[in-house]
Symmetry: C2
Subunit: 149 residues, 2 copies
Amino acid sequence: MTAASLFAIPGSQDEVETGTSLAPRFDAHGLITAIATDVASGEVVMVAHMNEAALAKTIATREAWFWSRSRKELWRKGLTSGNTLEVVELRVDCDQDAVLLKVRIAGDQVACHQGYRSCFYRTVPLGAAPSAETKLAFDDTMPRVVPKA
Amino acid sequence: MTAASLFAIPGSQDEVETGTSLAPRFDAHGLITAIATDVASGEVVMVAHMNEAALAKTIATREAWFWSRSRKELWRKGLTSGNTLEVVELRVDCDQDAVLLKVRIAGDQVACHQGYRSCFYRTVPLGAAPSAETKLAFDDTMPRVVPKA
């Protein structure tokens, strides 16, 4: 089986956006954006990337697999930390270059390697032009475990 | 003012992930991923990209601006459709290559140019290996308006 047979080949924009074929539009690096939300709270917990193999494995196994751009390897989320992501629902966006995963987090119930429930643990002040002095604020209400060394 | 002065320059990984400086890590194309969620429901409504100028405008104006990769232009979301996005909260992720916007959608209360509340209006079947025959299912419960011609 060739890699190309894992998914339909994207057709016209109209076909991609209004059709029923799963025809992911991988970018020049062979990647699509993958957003994970906690199925219980709806909170966005992380964003990562999938290549063809990661998307296919995620669909087949209901466990979240990603492509690590830094390590350049296929990566089953949570393999070392225990915080695997069970995929309850998977959606594709209009132009099929992004997917949305609704997940149940196993283990410590945190998705970020910094130990926070979500990777989005800092807020940006709004209403004034940003500068090199702009200061982020930590969300002290977010559940966190001490990251493993 | 040079573009570089809009934000701090990213330092070490530890500084980027555990510090309080807003130091976005734009990719080789000068972009970061931007995810918008409806502030009321928490639903992910769209994903797009921001360049330095789009992020700076969003922060200063509390209105969502993106960079259109297809049109290669700065883009105030909703300028033609009326479905602008008021940014209530903005967060940055651990490695500062993605931002999360909690938004109030104006106009028709839909974020997708296909008229749906969210761009993620189709689900992918799980539990079996995908193929060119995999069929998406439309979410018939999602609010929709007829797209403008």
